[in-house]
Symmetry: C2
Subunit: 479 residues, 2 copies
C-alpha cells in the first residue's frame, strides 16, 4: 500500500529566511514545540545529530585528558552571588526555584545558567597541592536562561551543552588551555561540520560575566548574519579568590590557581541548518549525519531488486557507514524528496537496469551530482563521495563568507557595502574605545563579533573616530 503523504514544501529561504529556518526545524523532524514557552522538544532525528556531535567532541576532550563529571542543576542564591560580575551578568535571566513540594525554601535556588560557581565550590574542596593540578573537568548537561524571544536551537530557555571547567597552576597554562579548546572547536567546525570559522577574542564589552578574556569562533550564516559558534574563557584567578581556592605550590607557598571554562551548545544544529541548508531542506555534513547514506531501490517490486539493495546496505554498514535502506511502499520520488529534506549527504539508487549493469547511482545531496558507480567499487566510492560532500560544503560556505566579507576604512564604506551586497562580516580598524564600538553599531547596524587572531592592517586609524588604531575587528549582525 502506498503512503500518499507528500513531503511538505518549505518556504523559500530567499523569500523569508526565518520562516525557511523554522520550516526545516519542524519538517525535517528535528524539533517539536512544547507547552513551555521557549523550551523545545528535540525529536529523534535532531537528537541523533546531537549524539554524533557529542561523541565527536567528547572523544576530542578525553584525548586531551579531560574527565566528565556531573554537578547539581541548582545553585543557591548566595553561591551565585559570590563573584560580583558573574551574578550581575546572569541573575537577570535565571529561573528561580522557590518551593520544594508544598514548602517554601529557606533560600531560593536558581536552575544553572552555567556552572562556574558550582565547580569553584567543588574545587575549593578538592584542590590542596600543586599535585592536584591541573583539574580538567567537563560536563554535558542542560542549562536554563530565561530569554525573552526564542527560536529553536538558536535561542531557547533551556538548551543542551557541554561546559569545560579547568584549574591550572599558572596563568600561562590556563591561557594555553583556553586557546587549545578554542582550537578544538575550530577544528571540529572546519573539518567535521564543514563550517569555516573566524577565531578571535571578544572586545571587553562583550566578555563573559567574570572572565578576563573571552575567545570565540564566529561563523557566517547563509543570510549574512554572524553566529557565535563556541566560546572559551580565561578567568585568571578572580573566581579562585572569590571562592577561596588555594593550593600549596612547589615552594610551599599558598597561592590561587588559574581557571578556564569553555562551551558549545545545541545552537550548533541551528548553525548547520543556516550554513548548509537549501530550499530542498537540511544538508548535513557526513561526520554528524544520523544517516550518511540512504539506499533507494527503484522498481523494488521487481525480482532481485530488494535483495540487491540489501546486499549493498550490508556491505556499506560493514564498512562502517551509517546507512539506511528505505524499502517502504512510498514512491522513489517521494523518498528522494524526504531524504533531501532530512539532509542525508549521499543517496544510492538501484534499479533492475543498474543491477544488470553491475552498477548503482550515487547522488550527492548538496549539488545533486549524479555518478554511476560499479558495485565492485561501492565502499571506496561511497567514502569518496562523502568526502566530496564535506569538501563541497566547506567550499560553498567559504565562498559565501568571502563574498560577504567587507574590508572598510570609513563608516560610509560600511554602510555602502551592507546596502549594496547585503548583510555580512565587516572588517575595520578600531581604536579600542567602547564609545566607538557603540557608535559603529548605532550608525551601521553591525556590532563587534571579535578581534580576529588573523589580523590584517587595513589602515592606521579607527574606522569611527579617526584616532590611532592597531586592532582589526570583525563586525556583524548577530543571531
Amino acid at each position: 500500500m502506498k503512503n500518499d503523504k507528500m513531503v511538505d514544501q518549505i518556504t523559500s529561504m530567499d523569500e523569508d529566511f526565518a520562516k525557511w529556518y523554522t520550516d526545516i526545524c519542524t519538517k525535517a523532524d528535528l524539533i517539536d514545540y512544547s507547552s513551555v514557552k521557549g523550551c523545545m522538544i528535540i525529536r529523534p532525528y535532531g537528537y541523533a545529530i546531537w549524539e554524533n556531535i557529542q561523541a565527536n567532541l567528547d572523544a576530542r576532550f578525553k584525548a586531551l585528558g579531560h574527565e566528565n563529571v556531573y554537578m547539581p542543576m541548582f545553585i543557591p542564591e548566595s553561591l551565585l552571588q559570590k563573584e560580583k560580575d558573574h551574578v550581575e551578568g546572569f541573575a537577570p535571566e535565571v529561573a528561580w526555584v522557590t518551593h520544594g513540594g508544598s514548602e517554601k525554601l529557606q533560600e531560593k535556588l536558581c536552575v544553572r545558567p552555567t556552572s562556574e560557581t558550582l565547580f569553584c565550590e567543588h574545587y575549593a574542596n578538592i584542590i590542596r597541592s600543586y599535585r592536584d593540578l591541573p583539574k580538567l573537568y567537563n560536563q554535558w548537561c542542560s542549562v536554563v536562561r530565561w530569554e525573552k524571544t526564542t527560536r529553536p536551537f538558536l535561542r531557547s530557555r533551556e538548551f543542551l551543552w557541554q561546559e569545560g571547567h579547568t584549574m591550572h597552576a599558572t596563568a600561562e597554562e590556563a591561557v594555553a588551555e583556553t586557546v587549545q579548546m578554542l582550537n578544538v572547536y575550530a577544528d571540529f567546525h572546519e573539518n567535521d561540520l564543514a563550517i569555516p570559522v573566524i577565531k578571535g577574542v571578544k572586545t571587553p564589552s562583550d566578555k563573559f560575566a567574570g572572565a578576563e578574556d573571552t575567545y570565540a569562533i564566529e561563523a557566517l550564516m547563509h543570510d549574512g548574519k554572524a553566529l557565535q559558534a563556541a566560546t572559551s574563557h580565561y578567568f585568571g584567578d578572580g573566581f579562585a579568590k572569590a571562592f577561596d581556592i588555594t593550593y600549596t605550590d612547589k615552594e610551599n607557598k599558598l597561592v590561587h590557581p588559574h581557571q578556564t571554562s569553555w562551551g558549545c551548545t545545541t545552537r550548533m544544529i541551528g548553525e548547520i541548518i543556516m550554513t548548509h541548508g537549501d530550499n530542498n531542506g537540511l544538508v548535513l555534513p557526513p561526520a554528524i549525519a544520523p544517516i550518511q547514506i540512504v539506499i533507494i531501490p527503484v522498481q523494488q517490486h521487481k525480482e532481485g531488486v530488494l535483495d540487491a539493495a540489501n546486499a549493498l546496505k550490508d556491505r556499506l554498514a560493514a564498512a562502517g557507514f551509517r546507512v539506511k535502506l528505505d524499502d517502504s511502499d512510498n514512491s522513489p520520488g517521494w523518498k528522494f524528496s524526504e531524504y533531501e529534506m532530512k539532509g542525508v549527504p549521499l543517496r544510492v539508487e538501484l534499479g533492475p537496469r543498474d543491477i544488470e549493469g553491475g552498477q548503482c547511482v550515487m547522488v550527492t545531496r548538496h549539488n545533486r551530482e549524479k555518478v554511476f558507480v560499479s558495485v565492485d567499487e561501492l565502499e571506496k566510492m561511497a567514502a569518496e563521495r562523502l568526502e566530496a560532500v564535506r569538501v563541497g560544503l566547506y567550499e560553498k560556505a567559504l565562498a559565501n563568507r568571502e563574498a560577504r566579507s567587507y574590508y572598510c576604512t570609513t563608516l560610509d564604506e560600511i554602510n555602502a557595502a551592507l546596502a549594496e551586497k547585503g548583510d555580512g562580516l565587516v572588517f575595520a580598524m578600531w581604536c579600542g574605545d567602547e564609545e566607538c564600538e557603540d557608535k559603529i553599531k548605532e550608525e551601521t547596524g553591525v556590532g563587534s563579533r571579535c578581534i580576529p587572531f588573523d589580523q590584517k592592517h587595513l589602515s592606521d586609524t579607527c574606522v569611527c573616530c579617526g584616532k590611532k588604531a592597531d586592532k582589526m575587528v570583525c563586525f556583524g549582525k548577530a543571531y
Copy 2:
C-alpha cells in the same frame, strides 16, 4: 618523590553499614557533597561508571529499535495535573519554579520528576495513524524529587536516569514491551553487574502513579535490605485518554494507543557498592569498571621494569581492555590499597624477577586470588581472570541472597527468621488484601517488594489472615 598520602581507612561494614557505604562513596572518589542539600556532585570516577552503564544500556535499547529524544525539563502545573493519579503521586515532591529573571511566572513550572506528561503532550501532536506506531522513545536526563532524607546515589533530590516512553497500537504489544524492558534490565544486572535479581510485579498499593501495572526487579543488598533496581510500567490507555491521544487504526476507527514507561537511575551505583563492596572498599564488575586492569610495577626504578610494564599496558589496551599503568612514585603497597579502594577488578604486578621469568602476577580484587601468568598468555588470562571476577561476584551475591531468603507460612515464622538470621527477603503467601499487606509490615517490619514471576506454592492460605491465597509475595526492608 614519594607521596606520603595514605589510603584512608573506611569504617567496617559490620560495625556501621551506613557509614561504610558513605565512606566508600567519598573515599573511592565517587561523589562530593554540594551546598545544595540532597544534591551530590558525581566525580570523574563515579561518572565514568555511569558512562559505562549508559553505553551498555543505550546499545541494548537501540538494538531493540528505541530512539533517544530530549524533552523540556519543566512541566507547567496544568500539564502535570492532567492525569489525576499521576499528579497525586508526584505533586507533593516536586520543585517549583515560580520566577524567571525578576518576573513572576503566570503559571508555575515544576522541574520534571518524570516525564510521562511531556511525552503524552508530544505524542498527541505526532501520532495520527497506526502507521505512526509503535513510538519507542527514550531519554537520558536528570530529574528532581524533593526527598526529605537523602543518601548519595540511593535517594537524592536530583538524580540521573533514563526514562523510556513508548506507545503501541494494542494492549498486548504494550504489555510485551513492558516485560521485554524488564528483561533487559534483569539481563544487564545478572550478566553485566553480576547482581542476581528477582523479577516481579508490584502489588496494587505500590504501583507507579497512574500505571495499571508496575513491574520491577529487586536485588538483595549485603546487609539484607532490598533495593528496587529498575521498574517498567504498563499504563493501558489511561494517559492516552487524559491527553486525548488517538490514532486511526487499520479499520479506519479512531482509538487510543497503549503506553509504557521504564527507567533506571544512578541508584544502580549504590546497588553495586552495597552488593559487591567489602571492607577494603569498592568492588566493581568488569563490564562497568572505568579501569578493568591496573598494572602496578614493583621496584620500578630498576632498569627495564617500566618499559616492560608499558609493553603489557599497550598489549592489554590493544586487546580492548580498559587498563591503567600506575607509574607514580607511591609505593606498591599504597597502590594496592588505592586500587582496592577503587574496586579495580584485576591487578597485574610486575617486578624484575617476574620479567626474568617471563611472567606477571594477576590478583583478582574480590577474593585476592593470586595467579602467576606467563606473559605469552597475557590477553587470554586477563580475559579469563576478569570473567572469574564476574562469575565470582555473582555467585557471592547469590549465596548471600539464598542465605537470607526465608520461606514462611506464619507471621511468627517471619519474625523468628528475621530475628535469628537478620534482615533478608521473606517469601510468603498473600490473599491480595491491602489490609493484610499493611498488617504484615506493621507486625514484622518487612513490606511487599513484588509478586515474583517465579512463583512457589508455599501453602494454600494467606500468611496474615489465613484466608485462601494463591500469590507468593516477596517482602523485605527497603532503602
